[in-house]
Each structure stands twice: as structure tokens, then as C-alpha cells.
Amino acid sequence: MNQIAQLAANGLMAGALLALSALGFNIIFAVLRISNFSIAAIITVGGYVGFIVNTMLGLPILVSVVVAFLAAGFVGVVSDHIALKPLRRYGPISVAIASLGVNMILENIVRFGFGNDMRSLDVPAQRDWLIAGLRIGPQQFYNFIVATVVMILLFGLLRFTRIGKAMRAVADNPSLADIKGINPTHVAQLAVFLGAGLAGMTGILLSLDTAVDPTMGMRMILSVFAGAVLGGLGSIPGAVAGGLLIGLAEEMSLLFMPVAYRSAIGFLVIVIALLFFPRGIFGDRTS
């Protein structure tokens, strides 16, 4: 029983970061109706920005997280403007393929700048807390809290502000939103900025817990995409639920299958979701 509770705790902690990235993926999808896989590299960018700000410049973690969000959002907007926007008229498949190319370019720019070596942020290693027989990593717990707060803030932004309403309007019907005076281009840029920013924030939070290396985003992307599909592409609450469920499923799978096959869970979920509920748990665009 204790093992199941421990796996569930581990799954929730890991799932919170997956949810954050899946949220970024789905915000972009909801507004632009494109799958932007370059968020894998943007996760990496966030990790390296955190490394620069925290380790190289010696600034506090909180500042690093904010800068990572802003820098990743900026990189997302610029790369979208240069490489993806011109291809949108050729359809979502073209954009998705191009985003894989953008992903490779961004990852290798990072590699050219920093090499392939692993780097750590300037945070002391802390022993786990032991709570009711469960081991909880302090950094993972902080990450969970930060991810949760950010997700709540994002809900508030989308639900209660004019910007959020504009985004939801464009997501629902871009032509009608345009007629009502909402500039869909600006809303699209904002969606990309927020989506990429959340991916970058995932990168720095993950780096705080593990390490920074150029492949860190690519190692996450399958689980992130699985979370987005499971929750419903374009769905904001769906991304959160999907990310958390994937995190839980990957950990709980260890009860009945070897750990070597943990990555198969992501593929399995995508196949099952597309076969039996292709609109995801929450359906698409329910935000």
C-alpha cells in the first residue's frame, strides 16, 4: 500500500511539470490550431536561461524562473514568426513538421552555445522529507506548488480578463472575433508567448530538480504530447488533467510492468485516446 502511495506521490510531482508543458502546447493549439512540437526545445531553452541567470549571473531562483518564462516566450514568438507563421496557409501538418525542424534548430543553437555537457543550477541538494512513510523531495514539492499556482493564475487570466476572453473568442471563432474588433494576430502572438513561456518555465523547474542538458526537452515531449491528447487538444483543463494522469500512469505502471518500458505508456495513451475518445477527456476547446 505504501508503495502505491509513493508511486502516486511521485506521479503527481512529475505530472505537474508535464501538465505545465501540456498547458503551453494546448494554449497554442487552441488559438492557432497547430501542434507546435518546438516546445520541446523551448523547454530546454528555459533550462539554459535559468542556468545563465541563476548560476552564471548569481540571481535568485525566483528571478530566474520569471526570466526563463519571458525569454522562452520571446524565443517562441520569434521562431513562430520566422518559421511557422509563413507556413500556416499550407495547413496544420506542414506547420507541425516545420515545428520539428524549428525544434532541431533551437536545440542545436543551445548545443553550439553551451556544448553537450550537463549543468546544474545553483541549488543545494536537499534530503527528502519523510511524511507519513512517504518520501517527498523538497524541490519536487516546490515545483509542484509553483506549477499549481501558475496554472491557477492562467485559469484566472483566461476566465476573468479581457485578454483571456479575447483569446477564447479567437479560439472559438477567429472570423467572428475579428469582426468584433479583436486582432487575431496579436492574440495568436500572445498565445504563442504564453505557451512557450510555460514550456520554458517547465524547463527551469525541471532543471532545479535534475540537471540541464540539450536533450532534456526531447525526453519530455512524448509524455507532454500524450497528456495534451489525453486531456483534449486545445483544452486548458484537459491539459492539466492529461499531464497529471500521464505522470500518474507512468509511475503506477511500475506496479505491473518493468521500468524499462515506462515510455511505452505515452504511446499507449495516445493510441487508446485516439481510438476511443479522440476529442480527449475534456473534448477540444472547452476552455
Partner: protein
Amino acid sequence: MPIWSSLNRRMLIKGMAAVPALAVASRHARAAINGPIRLGALVPLTGAGGVWGPKMALVQKMVVDQVNAAGGIGGQHVEYYYEDDQTNPDAGVLATRKLIDVDHVVAIMGVWSSAVAAPTLPICWQNKVTMLAIASSDSLSALPHQGYFIRTNVDVLLQGQEIGKFAISQGAKNIFVLLAQTPFDIPMMKGLTGTVLAKGIKVGSLVYDSRKTSFRSEVDQALRASPDLILLGGYPQDNIVLLKDLYRAGYSGKIVGTGTGVTSQLIDGAGKDVVEGLYVVRPSPAVTSTAYHKLQKIVGMDTPDTSLCQCYDQANLALLSIALAGESSGTAIRDNIRKIGGPEGEPVDNAVDGLRLLAQGKKINYEGASGPCEFLPDGNVARAFFRTLRVSGGKLVNV
């Protein structure tokens, strides 16, 4: 000093001084080698092996540049082509096909990952191209490679046995092995268990997926076995996460890693507290050899790792084999590499000196930076050195 700036004037002057001797005395090679000599390398510039690949390629290019500065082989220029295998078998196969079909290389050197070597080795032997590999999975030398496989690294079975001896020396009673899913899992376990089980030591293991970003549950599973020694059998990217998770979990037993999995970058990146006391059992370069000292100067590093040493040796060995054969082909390398690897002949530690001696009709014995470079019929090294190190105060020190 940056690796790429270290081909200094002194070396070039030495190389130039050797030009007349090489030009005069290698007439037989000139007669037989038509056109440039094309050497290839399949190195991991990206992916899990990306920590090593770029430097590996640079070292080999420096060796080739030295030989070209000394007049080439038989008056022929040596061309060096390298491709990124991305530490990925699919990319490795495509890159191998490019090196063989487009660049027409006669040797593919620097193959680092066993997962990449496994599908690319058959392409090499079918095209009579010699593979000079670092990849250490035992299964590679067991393939029907017809001699077109030479490994400068120590095979994993031997490494497993050496780690087993280390565990016995440390008085371990219960070992747990955390292995990344790679072709070297089975020989590592075979070597380890073959050594320790007879001593009554208990061994548990799990194979994990190294593409994940967190290994807390894997660590939990390992700790449930209450081991007094944990062997990390993965790559640095996952080992750094595993080490942090073991530290957080309060594990107080011994931890040992392989030479591939524990690098100076990992030690710098993981944090002092996390890696303090970590042991590494690894094949050791021939640190007292003159080739090793030459390599230190070339790369501008105090302790070039075994991958760099092996790449240096591979380039020298391939070039000397071609010169001895007077023919630029994979078959020539295959048939002559054991003749220049000793143990008989005048000792040499670099291709330029070796070419001069060969040109004088002398027999040579190449003594490398990675080891004696004597090869068995199956392509494995006949002799190897091991070293055990321990992290103390953030630095690796000899045990």
C-alpha cells in the same frame, strides 16, 4: 587551451621535417595508393554521447592534419570525413551509408555507442570497410564481421568482472545494479555476477528507460533491496539524476559507476555533496605512455579521457596500416593492423614517426595512448589497464 588551437607550430615544424624522409622512402606506397586516402568517423556529436563526440572528431582530424603536413602517405593526401550518429541507431545507419556510398571511406572510426555499432557493423563488413570502435558491447565482436571490426575499448564483460572484483574488495554483500536499456546490459551483468555470485554476494538489478527525466521510482525500487553497493550502469545524463535521487533518499552505501557513465562533467554538474565518495572503475588509458603525453599536448588537457585516447590511437593505427599495406582499403587495414600493433618492432607513438620508420623498411610496434593496441582475432584488445578512482572534495582521485 582549446583543443582546436593546439596543433602548434612546434608540431607542424616537426611534421615538416619528416617530409623528405617520407617522400623518399615510401615509394612502394605511392605506387600502390591512387588518389586520396579517405578515412571516416561516426561520432556522437549530439544525444547521450554528445559530451564526447566533438572532441573525438577533433583529435582524429589533428592526427590526419599532422600526417598531411608531413606529406601524407605515399604522397597522397588524407581526407577525413565525420558524421553525427546522434547516439541513435537510425541516424547512425544513414550516416554510415553516406560515409561509405558518398564519401567512399575505407574505415569508420570512433563508433561510440553499442546501439549504433550493432546495425552499422554489418554495413561495414558487407562493403569491406573496417570499423574501429569504442562501443564495448560483447555482442559486437561475436558478429560474423570477417575481421572488419577492431575495438580499442575493453569489452563490457571484462569491465563487469573488474567491477565485481572491486565490490569484493569493498566487502559488499548485497549489490544492486541500475542499468540503462542498452546492448551492454547483459555482458555487464554476466561479468559482474560471474565474479561475485561465487563469493555469496547477492545481486539485484533493474533496467530503466534512460529517456525519462525522473528516476525516483527506480531509486525506490533499488533501495527496497537494501543494497550496500549500487552500480550505476547508465550514461552521464541519467546517472546525474540517479545520483541526486539517491542522495535525496538518504542512501548511505557505496556507489560505483563505469568510465562511460561517470565523467568529470557529471562530477562538476551534480554538486559536491551528491558525488562525494562515488567510485569509478574504468578502463584506464596508458597514462605513462609517450603517446598519452603527446595527446595531452595536442588536446591541451591534463587528463584526456579514454574516448579521446582511443580515437587518437584509431586514427594512427588506420593510417599506419594503410602505409604498411601500400593500399588504401578496409581490407588493407584489417590485414595489417595487427602487424603494426606489436608486440614486436620499434616502438612508435604517432603516425608521422611510424610512417618514417615504415618507409625505412623497419618493423614498428605502435604503443598507444589507450593501451598496447594489440588485437585478438575477434577484434578485441588482448591487454588492457583498469583504474579505480574515488570522488573526494569534488575531484577524482586514485584509489
